[in-house]
């Protein structure tokens, strides 16, 4: 299939790409832009390892074509920190040990971030529902829930 040009805004930067229009967003982020934080863990849109944020919404980037993200703001885990300063959710993950092998972590962080944007003070149930689409094989999820609760409580408020 003929390649076509595509402009994608990822983590606040505009990338000019030349891609196969059938390419999934996760493929373009990883292989064309070179941001390998976002992972893939399945072929059936089930595991959430590829979760990114598109205009503040958590989206499994294996479930949409890259062209569908044109004109939107895509955010990956690499975009959480600003000039080396970690985002509250990242600090919370460090404090609570909310990761082990780390493979699901980038996607998990984006689901958490999107959840907090939508519900700044979620209940425990709401947090669990917010990350239901992300599989973690290592942590058993509870430390992730604790991290989100800590952020929601304001423990990492920036001055």
């Amino acid at each position: 299939m003929e390649k076509q040009p595509l402009k994608l805004t990822v983590n606040g930067r505009e990338y000019e790409l030349y891609i196969n229009p059938k390419a999934l967003l996760v493929e373009v982020i990883r292989d064309h832009i070179g941001l390998t934080g976002t992972k893939r863990g399945c072929e059936t849109v089930s595991c959430g390892a590829c979760t990114v944020m598109i205009d503040d919404m958590a989206v499994k980037s294996c479930s949409i074509l890259a062209v569908q993200a044109e004109g939107r703001h895509v955010r990956t885990a690499e975009g959480l920190e600003v000039n080396g300063k970690l985002a509250p959710i990242q600090k919370a993950f460090l404090d609570h040990g909310s990761y082990q092998c780390g493979f699901c972590t980038p996607g998990m962080l984006m689901s958490c971030e999107a959840l907090l944007k939508e519900k700044p003070t979620p209940t425990e149930e709401e947090i669990k529902e917010g990350i239901e689409g992300n599989i973690c094989r290592c942590t058993g999820y509870n430390s992730i829930v604790r991290a989100v609760e800590a952020v929601a409580k304001g423990n990492y408020k920036e001055e």
């Binding site: 863990g41 399945c42 040990g97 082990q100 290592c138 058993g140």
Partner: protein, 760 residues
């Protein structure tokens, strides 16, 4: 009060920032210049002769650079139990025949993954289909097809454990119960599927990026199958996306990529799809258990006899170990006057079964802990007190097998009793089930036939006081880098931030058997402690000379302060000392070395962890659906080292163990896995996890560094049994098969009702 400065304090995982910022590079992410992408063609038949493979059309397909089959390999039959050549039975790319659906038969390297995938369809394999067999009891029949030449009746391995006069012990029993169980397999389902990038260069050297639990094993095994020297193979294991026992043998990704790379002299990357990971990577061993147990009417355990068949699948892998350990831990954590275990591993034409977190113990406990609960009910005894009176204790010798040097199980019983009492009466659709267990902290065996110490470490102190810690121990997410840094910092007397951990590279790190069998905290930890103390000694030698203090005074370093132990207020700075020592050593960096191999530590392990878990379950009578409400785990791992890591391991183990108990069903039909995807294979999600609080029991294990034992694998053992026991207490039905699916509960309830009606 914590007597340690670093140990068991709240330490951030040392790899944390890399992981939470997306910087961590996994084999899944590795890209090398000139790299090709590989794909594997797999057998659609469970058992067939490979008559011919025609790769001509595939070779001609634009973008394809090379194709390999078994004929391009040395044909070496390899296996991880190198000491037992008979059990090294797997060619990975077989030459003569295939033995399970999904087995690799050819591999293609191409410019893109898509091209490689398309080229697979162009490889023409001519099979002669053979009869196949899928269940152990069918495979041992006289008429069953022979899967491996020379293995009569498909008997792969047998293991036998026995102590005491079993017949006499049964004679002493007032009550004898026998039950049959069926334990399912389980998929490791690592978030990172199997992945490898192999790069062979004209110097005759091979560099392999491998998602592995043991770079040393990968190196050694590749050397064996490729005809290379170990020293000419470099294995780099950057961050690993989970292992759980599935990633310390050779897999199709690393083998096929290496063979392709050696043929083409270009880097080749192979990453398994999730489906491939399900159908073509070894799984937890399914087992059929027959258990006969005799007890006195006051609940004293007399005798137990178990006969177990394990479904070995097509190859041995680590299955022989699972066979042995299941029989050993089936006796845990109790004293038996007479105990007999006969284990038989049988070849079948299914996915090979191997090691998975728990290593045969989850299966063993599912059977043992449920039967014990039923015995208590039959005799009208309190199930916790019955367990308590028969439990291990410090100093107990499991006859001929092990001496228990530390054991906190008794306090575990107290904690669970307290928890149950505090819960009080439960709503009618909820119940609590408990399960005890114990586990090993690394095995004493050396079937890999390694000439190296089981674990080694090198500590190097730089001029500025920062410390390079080189270990062979592999971090696969369990946090071993952090645990080793903690032990090093404590032993040396500095802070974790001063330590830089180097692991996952056979070129720079010492050999280590790797992350399996719960061995690293104890074994690598001991090596690290020894190395750090060696380095510290060199610093203190100089400090003694400089201080000129009387020989009766001892110096130590703690929190970067060199001081007299008797007079801690008198001290000097660690950083200053390092600079002086370096000068004194003519500019040579201070290097400490450590190593550990267990000697004279019994037949299984230097140390055993203990635990008792209670799970509160809600069961819907109509649908049989299970909901986990709450839990408590009383846990003895000796001295906890990495506090955050420990909590994570506990909660994570619970999620995997619960999955084995009621979710992760792997149905096979005619040798084919029916649900090789994450839609149909159910792993636990955040919404299904209960709270998993832990009650830490304080013990001190003399064999472990600072008294530490394993944590994280033992905790995978009790949950399936606890869930089964909860169902028993709710409805009085006995679940003899795991994972326990809703329809099984519904059917059991129907059967019970029918029986009761008949009785009336």
């Amino acid at each position: 009060m914590n007597k340690y400065s670093v140990i068991n304090t709240h330490v951030h995982n040392v790899d944390g920032i890399a992981k939470v910022t997306g910087r961590a590079v996994y084999t899944f992410d590795v890209k090398l210049p000139g790299m090709l992408y590989g794909k594997i063609l797999r057998s659609p038949h469970p058992h067939a002769k490979i008559v011919s493979i025609d790769c001509g059309k595939a070779m001609e397909f634009p973008g394809v650079v090379g194709v390999v089959t078994g004929k391009d390999t040395l044909g070496v039959k390899q296996g991880i139990w190198r000491r037992y050549q008979d059990l090294c039975d797997e060619q990975i790319l077989p030459i003569d025949k295939v033995r399970y659906i999904g087995e690799p038969v050819a591999a293609v390297a191409a410019l893109t993954e898509e091209i490689a995938e398309q080229a697979l369809d162009l490889i023409d394999v001519h099979y002669e289909v053979l009869p196949s067999v899928y269940e152990p009891l069918d495979a041992i029949k006289k008429e069953a097809p022979e899967i491996h030449e020379g293995f009569e009746r498909n008997m792969n391995v047998t293991r036998h454990i026995e102590w005491g006069d079993v017949e006499a012990a049964f004679e002493e029993a007032d009550y004898i119960r026998e039950d049959w169980f069926k334990c399912g397999g389980q998929a490791h389902m690592c978030m990172e599927t199997r992945a490898a990038v192999s790069s062979y260069t004209p110097e005759g050297k091979l560099t392999v990026y491998h998602s592995t639990q043991s770079p040393y094993y990968t190196q050694g095994l590749l050397a064996g199958v490729l005809g290379l020297k170990e020293g000419h193979i470099r294995v780099i294991s950057p961050y690993v996306g989970g292992g759980f026992g599935g990633k310390f043998e050779l897999d199709g990704a690393v083998f096929c990529s290496a063979v392709l790379s050696m043929k083409l002299c270009r880097p080749v990357k192979i990453v398994f799809t999730r489906e491939e990971d399900f159908i073509a990577t070894k799984r937890r061993t399914p087992m059929s258990y027959y258990v006969r147990t005799g007890v006195k009417k006051d609940g004293t355990f007399c005798a137990r006899e178990a006969k177990v068949f394990t479904n070995g699948g097509a190859y041995t892998g680590m299955g022989a170990t699972a066979l042995y350990l299941t029989g050993f831990f089936h006796s845990f954590p109790y004293r038996w006057k007479g105990y007999r275990y006969d284990g038989y591993r049988v070849y079948t034409n299914t996915l090979p079964s191997s090691s998975m977190r728990g290593f045969g113990a989850p299966q063993a406990m599912f059977c043992s802990e449920q039967q014990i609960e039923w015995i208590a009910a039959d005799l009208g005894l309190d199930p916790i007190e019955m367990r308590r009176k028969n439990a291990h204790y410090e100093g107990y010798e499991v006859p001929g097998q092990a001496t228990i040097a530390s054991c906190g199980i008794d306090q575990c019983f107290d904690e669970i009793q307290k928890w149950i009492k505090e819960k009080g009466p439960l709503p009618s659709n909820r119940s609590i089930g408990i399960s005890a267990c114990g586990f090993m902290s690394g095995g004493i065996f050396n079937w890999f036939d390694s000439p190296y110490a089981f674990s080694s470490a090198v500590v190097t102190i730089n001029y500025d006081g920062t410390v390079e810690l080189h270990v062979g121990a592999q971090d696969i997410g369990q946090g071993s880098n952090t645990t080793m840094a903690i032990i090093c910092a404590e032993a040396l007397g500095v802070k974790v931030e001063d330590i830089k951990v180097h692991s996952g590279d056979t070129d720079h790190c010492p050999a280590d058997l790797g992350a399996w069998g719960s061995r690293q905290t104890l074994m690598a930890g001991n090596a690290v402690k020894m190395a750090a103390e060696d380095a510290k000694k060199q610093l203190l030698e100089f400090a003694y000379a400089q201080s000129g203090s009387n020989i009766i005074y001892d110096l130590d370093i703690k929190e970067r302060r060199v001081h007299s132990i008797a007079r801690p207020e008198r001290g000097s700075d660690y950083f200053d000392l390092v600079k002086k020592v370096l000068r004194g050593k003519e500019g040579q960096r201070i290097v400490g070395r450590g190593y550990y191999t267990p000697h004279r530590k019994g037949m299984i392990s230097p140390a055993y962890s203990y635990m008792l878990q209670g799970v509160e379950v809600e069961i819907d009578r109509e649908t049989g659906k299970i909901r986990l409400i709450d839990s408590l785990t009383a846990h003895d791992c000796g001295q906890p080292i990495n506090h955050l890591g420990l909590i994570g391991q506990l909660e994570g183990a619970f999620s995997m163990a619960a999955g084995y108990g009621y979710l992760e069903y792997m149905p096979y039909e005619d040798g084919k896995l029916m649900n090789p995807n994450l839609v149909d294979y159910k792993v636990i999600r955040a919404t299904e996890m209960p709270k998993v609080p832990v009650a830490e029991i304080d013990t001190y294990e003399p064999a472990g560094p600072y008294g530490a034992k394993e944590a994280g694998e033992g905790l995978t053992n009790p949950t399936a049994a606890a869930i089964g026991n909860a169902i028993f207490h709710a409805f009085g039905v006995q679940m003899k098969e795991c994972p326990i699916r809703p329809e099984m509960i519904v059917n059991a309830l129907k059967e019970k009702k029918a029986k009761e009606k008949k009785g009336n």
